[in-house]
């Protein structure tokens, strides 16, 4: 590993003399590159070094140093650890070249970074706000930005009852009203430009007129934000010609709550239950990724028994998530709830286990730094064994038998929403979307974390990249997860579930860490920067359902209106995670 890194350093420094510097700050890794050389270096990394997968794009505001940084995490699609690039920018007018032309998967992430941090990506084809609305003042993840009911920089807040007298937060209101508008902004005369620019990006598509000589018109249809099949408040503006999609733009942010800003105010442990709320269908995977990132920073190893418990719970989460997906995908295809309810029946049993073990069915809050919150209650092991060895394999086979060969499902899924492997990597898709396109990339194998190296399981791959394959892949993954659970239950040792004594205030040394796990929806990454204080300085979530949406337009164009929802359903998004 060290050998490999040295060669990378040498190659990079040799190729770009003066432009690449190793990040020497304690606790930091990766390379600092200059802004003007970034596209060149990214291209070189992709074409010559095999770092063809741009996993995460984000930024950090280093207010005390008076600078900002954009942070890029590159991976090889054949596996291995991250290569991190950072670009240092001035806080005033930060401009960095966009990587969209080299890595199309950066599109939504760069928009998000622009929206939240105000970093301008030069050359981005469609740089608009994405999560916040047009009239929003400022960029909230900048450290000097303050919200309407701003209290203090970091939790735990001081007492609101000093000297026995309550201080109401409204009295602290720094704007004297609960909204702050940008300068020169009048809500009465404001006409939102978001829709105009959203539609403008679709209006370029009047191509058929010249080609066929026939005057044909397209109409723009809005799906959502209130729509039965968008799985939440998600919106798509589609240009359709007849029933064929010729252009489609996602619009999101309706559920935005600035998870990252809130998390930066929280202490480290306070964020653990908060991660549950990201993808509320797979809370334990969210816990897992965050725990790994912070443990990397702290440099501790979780207890042995806890590792097994973590794996069992994370794999159960994957099964329950995929069951839910299979059910709701079938609903999207127009099956009237029957497959959904049968799938939910099994999911309920898994949630029963969660409830018994963690105390909650959905907001589990089970992981701790260095272990898990508590051991299995008496009798739960038997219940888990019954599920893993008997009930789930049987029921999955049954569902597979009834659904997979259905003519209508095949007709609706085969050849619809095709993504080639090259496109899948270029668009930074992850998880089942990537693997259904024939790329055998699974973080559990590609960059093993926790104890996944000890288990015997296959990376589920399918090779057609269409809706039907993404559907089948979920069955494959459930089967592999059951295998992992079976082995984990068999091998689980006795012992404590916490390494060291439980602590309420994690002591996290300064540095940065990128912890990633293979969540049910794909690579779930947490980029955490610590400055040694009780609160994370930067906390960024690489949300798989957000980044998978980058490929949505590519998947939908040329298909029918009805296919859009099959495709969206097969990507598997949860708006709690997409909008954060």
């Amino acid at each position: 590993m060290t050998q490999q890194l040295t060669t990378i350093t040498e190659t990079l420094v040799e190729r770009f003399p003066g432009a690449v510097l190793k990040d020497e700050r304690p606790g930091y890794e990766g390379y600092l590159v200059s802004a003007e050389n970034l596209p060149e270096i990214a291209q070189f990394l992709r074409d010559q070094m095999g770092y063809d997968y741009l996993s995460s794009v984000t930024g950090v505001d280093y207010l005390p140093e008076g600078k900002m940084e954009t942070v890029y995490h590159f991976f090889r699609s054949t596996g291995g650890s991250a290569l991190e690039l950072k670009v240092s920018l001035p806080r005033e007018n930060p401009v960095v070249p966009s990587l969209v032309s080299i890595f199309p998967g950066a599109e939504l992430q760069e928009r998000e970074t622009y929206d939240l941090l105000g970093i301008i990506f030069d050359g981005h084809p469609d740089l608009r706000r994405i999560l916040l609305w047009d009239g929003f003042d400022g960029h909230p993840l900048r450290k000097d930005w303050q919200e309407p009911y701003y209290e203090e920089e970091a939790k735990p807040f001081k007492s609101r009852w000093p000297e026995g007298r309550a201080i109401r937060v409204e009295e602290k209101n720094i704007f004297k009203k609960n909204v702050k508008y940008p300068a020169g902004f009048d809500p009465e005369t404001f006409t939102p430009e978001g829709d105009t620019s959203l539609f403008a990006s679709l209006d370029k598509l009047k191509r058929h007129d010249e080609e066929s000589g026939m005057k044909s018109d397209h109409i723009i249809i809005n799906f959502g934000p209130q729509h039965t099949s968008t799985h939440g408040v998600f919106r798509m503006a589609a240009a359709v010609e007849g029933e064929t999609i010729i252009g489609l733009k996602p619009a999101m942010g309706y559920l935005h709550r600035n998870h990252e800003k809130i998390a930066e105010r929280n202490t480290y442990l306070m964020n653990m239950p908060y991660t549950d709320r990201l993808d509320y269908l797979s809370p334990l995977s969210n816990n897992f990724g965050y725990a790994i990132a912070v443990e990397k920073l702290m440099g501790i190893q979780p207890a042995e028994r806890a590792e097994y418990l973590r794996v069992i719970m994370a794999e159960f989460t994957r099964i329950s998530n995929h069951l839910f997906l299979i059910g709701s995908l079938l609903n999207d295809l127009g099956a009237y709830f029957t497959p959904m309810l049968y799938a939910l029946e099994e999911r309920e049993l898994i949630l029963d286990v969660f409830e018994a073990v963690t105390g909650s069915r959905m907001m589990c809050n089970y992981f701790r730094f260095g272990g898990v919150a508590r051991d299995l209650p008496e009798g739960q092991l038997q219940k888990i064994k019954d599920l893993a060895f008997d009930r789930l394999p049987r029921k999955i086979d049954e569902m597979d038998r009834f659904l997979t060969e259905s003519e209508i499902i095949r007709a609706r899924g085969v050849g619809v929403g095709v993504l080639t492997p090259e496109e899948a990597i270029a668009y930074s898709t992850c998880g089942p979307v990537l693997r259904a396109s024939g790329v055998p990339y699974d973080v559990r194998r590609a960059d093993p974390y926790s104890i996944y190296e000890r288990f015997d399981f296959d990376v589920a791959v399918r090779y057609h990249g269409d809706v039907y394959d993404r559907f089948l892949l979920r069955f494959d993954e459930i089967r592999q997860s059951i295998r992992i659970i079976q082995q984990a239950v068999r091998d689980m040792p006795e012992g404590p579930v916490q390494s060291g004594k439980p602590q309420y205030q994690a002591k996290v040394p300064a540095g940065e860490a990128y912890g990633r796990v293979e969540g049910p929806k794909g690579e779930l990454g947490y980029y955490v920067v610590s400055n040694g204080k009780p609160n994370p300085w930067r906390y960024h979530v690489r949300a798989p359902s957000f980044i998978n949406l980058t490929a949505l337009e590519k998947l939908c164009v040329g298909n029918k209106v009805a296919d859009v929802f099959a495709i969206l359903g097969s990507i598997d998004i949860v708006l709690g995670e997409t909008d954060r």
Binding site: N331, L333, A335, P421, G465, K560
Partner: protein
């Protein structure tokens, strides 16, 4: 035309209309109960014993709901559309025989409203009118979803009307009459479904499309077009669409029973003609159960494939069915008809299967 017979007509009409309305109410309950049982749920069980008052509660709710008319809608047509939808559904059963002749209060009463000599044609005529309500609802709402739903439904219903009309021809040829009474009488020895298995199947599929039931519920495809043509409707106007759909279900089931399953005839009907409506009701319920079952089981077909299926598979098959039926009748060998038509049907299925499979897996990375 005596006063007595006028009263008889009026009473029979009222009975049919109220029968259909009650049938609609309890069909919704039946559907919810059956769906629930199939989906390992309980279903409505709060209003009354076993949820029997549920339709009543629904009706009360719908009547008192606010009626919203979109400000940019075409108001007259918007109000007219649900009415246009319901009327054909209510009058389509006017020519259907519900039973033989019974004696009541010393009067010979025929258990049917009218015996048109072009009864089958009447049914197709009324069925073709019923498109209008949906199309106009879609157009007048001034809403893109509703509009797409309206366009879809008109195209879909026109396409499937052809196959539907052709599937009528089998029973017409076999009985030599377009009167539904004669068709029922001709089935005394044997139900027509025996001679017309493929015809009955085509009829069944085409009626599913005609009444917009799953898996052909395109116009109201919830996942794509929210509620399709009735997106903008609320309250009682919405209920009228709902009513029309369910009454149409009952009507087509009754027509299917009459054309292919011997109508009101079954055991003991000769001795006790009053059993006629009971048997018909039984057959209708069985067919309705089939429709609900299909809804609980199958996902929706995509719209372009639905059209392709209607035009490229169902329509030629219906033509072939008519052709072979005619051959069987001309040769006076009726047993040939089922053999030939089933052979053609299986051949067509295999051919489609082969070509589809080849097309599906044409790309592998």
């Amino acid at each position: 035309m005596t006063t007595g017979s006028v009263w008889e007509w009026i009473i029979k009409s009222v009975v049919i209309v109220f029968g259909l309305l009650t049938g609609f109410a309890y069909l919704t309950l039946l559907e919810r109960k059956v769906l629930a049982k199939i989906q390992v749920r309980i279903g409505p069980n709060r209003a009354g014993p076993m949820g029997l008052f549920q339709p009543l509660a629904d009706a009360i709710k719908l009547i008192f709901k606010e009626e919203i008319i979109p400000s940019r809608a075409d108001k007259i047509i918007f109000v007219l559309a649900p009415i246009i939808t319901v009327i054909p559904a209510l009058i389509i059963l006017g020519v259907l025989p519900f039973g033989g002749i019974i004696t009541l209060f010393g009067r010979q009463i025929s258990l049917s409203l009218a015996d048109l000599n072009v009864g089958v044609l009447y049914i197709t005529a009324i069925a073709s009118i019923s498109i209008y309500g949906i199309v106009l609802a879609g157009w007048s709402s001034n809403n893109k979803y509703a509009m797409l739903g309206g366009i879809r439904s008109s195209a879909q219903m026109i396409s499937y009307e052809l196959a539907l009309g052709l599937s009528f021809i089998g029973p017409i040829l076999l009985s030599g009459s377009m009167s539904l009474h004669d068709i029922v009488a001709a089935q005394k020895p044997l139900w027509f479904v025996v001679y017309q298995p493929v015809g009955a199947l085509i009829f069944w599929i085409a009626t599913l499309a005609e009444v917009n039931r799953a898996p052909f519920d395109m116009p109201e495809a919830e996942q794509e077009l929210t509620a399709g043509y009735h997106t903008e409707y609320s309250g009682m106007k919405f209920a009228l669409f709902f009513m029309a759909e369910y009454i149409k279900m009952i009507a087509v089931s009754a027509i299917a029973a009459t054309l292919f399953f011997g109508g009101y005839r079954f055991v003991l009907e000769d001795q006790y003609p009053i059993l006629g409506p009971v048997w018909l009701l039984g057959k209708v319920i069985v067919l309705l159960f089939g429709m609900i079952w299909v809804r609980a089981t199958l996902p929706r077909i995509r719209y372009d494939r639905l059209m392709a299926f209607g035009w490229k598979f169902l329509f030629p098959l219906a033509l072939a069915n008519v052709f072979f039926t005619a051959i069987g009748i001309v040769l006076e060998k009726l047993w040939l008809i089922p053999l030939l038509t089933i052979a053609v049907f299986l051949g067509a299925v295999v051919m489609v299967g082969i070509s589809e499979t080849r097309r599906w897996r044409s790309h592998v990375f």
